[in-house]
């Protein structure tokens, strides 16, 4: 975007003309500074032994002590692992499902069915995580529908308590995200598919290509740029996908796989009132996010595809 933007000479006349824009930009910048940049100043707390009584100005500086505590804490290392694992698993699963769903829905020939399915597919996106977790909890409970079906089909002999076994938790998180967002995420892919030149499909038909072949050789390459850019945009959010479900559905038994950085921040920062440690963990999370997005962007750049900046 920057390329096409020729630098304007800043003249008085230009300033006058753009007065409206300038005044409002100033308002937005002030707003942004207060609500987004001032909290970054709070990062100082991470290097202090912050006490509400003494405040930012008079609390004792302790250097990197809080970070040292983090990295010597087994729990924190596990928490990082869990956050990344859940984030990546969720990202991969939702991506594949959304693309698959978009492609398969595109193959549905009846217009009515297509519209109806699509409308239904958006529904879970509009439900809050509170509701989704409530549903998940009931569905996966010992007497829930999942156990009922599995036992009914003789896949299981006796019901399983899914939330009691660490092994199930990450897949449950990924599944919940898939359930909630597949339809919604597919919107953009569906649009991208529609914009593929129909001539390509006709040509393939003449060459005797089946539907499967067309999907592989025309549809998928056609939406590749869309996939790439969405992937990059979402990689920065990998660490943000894992708060609600672990918070609402975690329990003592699976704590070692369900606790995430956000929950760690909440436990230390709020429950134990150790604001410094909570802040330090938060900083770490921000840094990892940035690193992830930079890596994704440069990978995309190198592979010659789309990129964000």
């Amino acid at each position: 975007m920057a390329k096409s933007n020729k630098k304007q000479a800043i003249t008085m006349k230009e300033i006058k003309r753009q007065k409206f824009l300038l005044i409002w930009s100033a308002v937005f910048v002030i707003y942004g500074i207060i609500f987004y940049y001032v909290p970054l100043g709070g990062w100082i707390m991470a290097f202090q032994h912050y006490k509400p009584k003494t405040g930012l100005l008079h609390s004792k500086f302790v250097g990197l002590d809080k970070f040292k505590f983090l990295f010597y804490d087994d729990v924190f290392l596990k928490v990082i692992r869990n956050t990344l694992a859940m984030g990546i698993l969720t990202l991969v699963a939702t991506f594949i499902m959304a693309i698959a769903f978009a492609i398969l829905l595109n193959e549905v020939k009846s217009m009515f069915a297509k519209k109806a399915i699509q409308t239904i597919s958006y529904l879970p996106h509009f439900l809050s995580w509170i509701i989704v977790c409530g549903i998940l909890h009931d569905a996966l409970s010992g007497s829930g529908i999942v156990n009922e079906v599995l036992v009914g089909l003789h896949i299981l002999k006796t019901p399983i308590n899914f939330f009691a076994h660490p092994g199930y938790f990450w897949p449950i998180v990924a599944f919940a995200n898939v359930w909630k967002e597949t339809g919604w995420n597919a919107i953009i892919y569906l649009a991208a598919i529609t914009s593929i030149d129909p001539c390509l499909y006709e040509a393939a038909s003449i060459d005797g290509g089946g539907r499967w072949a067309k999907i592989r050789h025309i549809t998928l390459p056609g939406i590749r740029p869309t996939i790439m850019i969405l992937l990059i945009m979402n990689i920065g959010n990998v660490l943000n996908t894992s708060f609600e479900i672990p918070y609402l559905l975690g329990n003592g038994l699976i704590k070692s796989v369900s606790d995430t950085i956000d929950i760690y921040v909440l436990t230390w920062g709020i429950s134990q009132s150790d604001y410094s440690l909570g802040t330090a963990a938060g900083i770490f999370k921000s840094i990892v996010s940035i690193v992830l997005i930079l890596i994704a962007n440069s990978v995309a750049k190198r592979s010659g595809g789309e990129r964000l900046f």
Binding site: P52, P159, A164, N251, G252, L253, I270, S273
Partner: protein, 552 residues
């Protein structure tokens, strides 16, 4: 004329004594004189409706009204942390295990300058007991509201922990003597085999356990009782050597969990036990489908028994009877605590956000006034209870049914349950402070299967079922009041937190394991890695301090 003069003198005398004893004046407060307070209680509870009738009556009598906000969806520490961080506090707070955080954050008002002006409040504890509430800086910031007996104890319930079993199971089995875990599970298994479902088709759950948050004591602390020790909570005190013993690692603990593991693999223990929430647990018990569990009476009985009554399940024999199990037949037990338990680690406090501290103290004081206390726990005379010619309070069966109804409780009854209160005998010398302790009420309200069960075992009340050793509490009792107040500032406190985490994770795992020995060994390894010695050393130190203080 003479009569009139006599009457006036009497009135004057009554008023004078009224003033002196700090009794509530007859004067009513008008709507705009009533002060509104907020109180946060770090426990789950049920909200009262706006305009709750008894709450209004009390408000007009003593000029104060409290909106109670209960813990929901968070741990107590998290909720208290949130409140501290927000910078605006409710006037009253009962912070559960998180009182220490409130003290650290300087948000509580010290009681020292006020307490002497409020006789009802002061009366709750002896000077020596008040001293136990003093924090590091030497001040008192809160008072526990529970476990105070006025006059003679009227306890008919076993307000403690036990292995509980439904009365109908005992009846079915012919009222056998059950002393050990093996015998207990044996009865459950046999009954379950004969009755796998309830009449309506609901599947019977022979045994369940709660492992949620701090309520995991339901699975965790049975070894201390099985070994015959009283409820010191976090540790066993070996009186002979004055030594702290860790009940997590004694052989009885291993036997107990081995037994649970065995029963789990037999399908006797509820598969959801490890993950169920308190609400789910209570809901399960309320269906009458659960035959037995290990729990504290106050943790389930008030809710569950009311539901049983409403559903007619009490007549079907679903009520739970306590059993004082021990590791070996014939061993003595201390499941029942006969004396009062003073837990100085939590209680009700007034925060610095309260703009009229004196009025707040006056309110607390007035809540203990007998008239108000009766309103709180008995309700309105003529509506919720009647008085016979001897001054004895009683309820009709309809009244009992009515006060068991949740809707009614929310709209009519207001006990301010986390505010100062008494157990034992009323100041009128006749009644019990609370209906649950009124002997006549207790027997009247008892469902037939329970009466039959008590008769069969020759028991007059719940504690008689347990056969605990009758003794005075040791001066250091209960040790949990120290461990509850530990913070991560000390090495022992860090160990304590980690021990809790390890146990939360591993105890259910141990029970569910396919290979008990291996899992137990893994658990022990994880447990020992938390440095329990540091915790035990601090407990030992406190034990010695308390013992020495008592010897003075």
């Amino acid at each position: 004329m003479k009569f009139r003069k006599y009457f006036v003198t009497l009135m004057a005398a009554a008023m004078a004594t009224g003033m002196l004893t700090g009794a509530v004046s007859a004067e009513e407060y008008s709507d705009d004189q009533i002060k509104d307070y907020t109180m946060f209680i770090a426990m789950p509870g049920s909200e009262k409706n706006d305009g709750n009738e008894v709450k209004e009556i009390i408000a007009h009598k003593i000029g104060g009204r409290v909106k109670e906000i209960w813990l929901t969806g968070q741990t107590d520490a998290e909720a208290v942390g949130t409140i501290i961080a927000s910078g605006e506090y409710p006037e009253f707070i009962n912070g559960g295990d998180a009182m220490a955080a409130l003290y650290d954050a300087d948000v509580l008002v010290a009681w020292d300058d006020y307490i002497d002006n409020y006789p009802n409040l002061k009366e709750m504890y002896t000077d020596k007991e008040w001293d136990m509430f003093r924090q590091e800086d030497g001040h008192i910031y809160w008072a526990n509201v529970f476990g105070n007996t006025y006059g003679m104890s009227k306890a008919t319930t076993h307000n403690d922990e036990a292995f509980w079993i439904q009365a109908k199971v005992l009846e079915w089995a012919g009222y056998p003597q059950i002393e050990t875990l093996d015998e207990y599970f044996d009865v459950l298994e046999k009954y379950y085999e004969a009755n796998p479902t309830l009449e309506d088709g609901t599947k019977v759950i022979p045994y369940t356990m709660l492992c949620e948050d701090w309520r995991y004591f339901c699975i965790e602390n049975a070894p201390e009782f099985l070994a015959g020790y009283p409820n010191d909570g976090s540790v066993i005190v070996d009186k002979e050597n004055m030594q702290i013993v860790d009940y997590n690692t004694i052989p009885i603990a291993e036997t107990y969990f081995r037994k649970l593991n065995e029963e789990y693999s037999k399908g006797i223990i509820d598969i959801e036990f490890g993950t169920q929430t308190y609400d789910e647990y209570i809901a399960k018990l309320s269906t009458g489908a659960v035959l037995g569990m290990c729990d504290q009476w106050w943790d389930f009985a008030y809710t569950v028994n009311d539901v049983f009554k409403q559903q007619g399940l009490d007549i079907a024999g679903c009520n739970y009877v306590p059993l004082g199990l021990v590791a070996e037949k014939g061993q003595e037990n201390r499941w029942h605590t006969y004396g009062d338990t003073l837990n100085n680690s939590s209680g009700v406090a007034i925060t610095t956000s309260c703009d009229d501290v004196e009025a707040a103290f006056q309110f607390l004081n007035d809540l203990l006034d007998q008239e108000i206390h009766d309103l709180r726990f008995w309700g309105v005379e003529g509506v919720d209870y009647l008085v016979d010619e001897n001054g004895l309070y009683y309820r009709t069966p309809e009244m009992r049914m009515q006060v068991a109804d949740n809707e009614y409780k929310a709209s009519h009854m207001c006990d301010y349950s986390y505010m100062p209160q008494w157990g034992g005998t009323s100041k009128d010398g006749i009644n019990a402070m609370t209906p649950t302790e009124q002997t006549s009420e207790f027997f009247e309200g008892l469902a037939e299967p329970l009466v039959k069960c008590f008769e069969a075992y020759g028991a007059g009340n719940y504690p008689d079922m347990i056969h605990s050793v009758v003794e005075e509490n040791a001066p250091w009792f209960p040790m949990y009041s120290f461990s509850n107040a530990m913070t991560t500032e000390t090495e022992g406190g860090v160990a304590w937190t980690k021990m809790g985490e390890v146990k939360h994770e591993w105890l259910p795992k141990v029970v569910m394991s396919d290979d008990f020995d291996t899992t137990w060994a893994e658990y022990m390894e994880a447990y020992n890695a938390t440095n329990p010695e540091a915790f035990l050393a601090e407990m030992q130190e406190e034990l010695e301090r308390r013992a020495a203080a008592a010897a003075e």
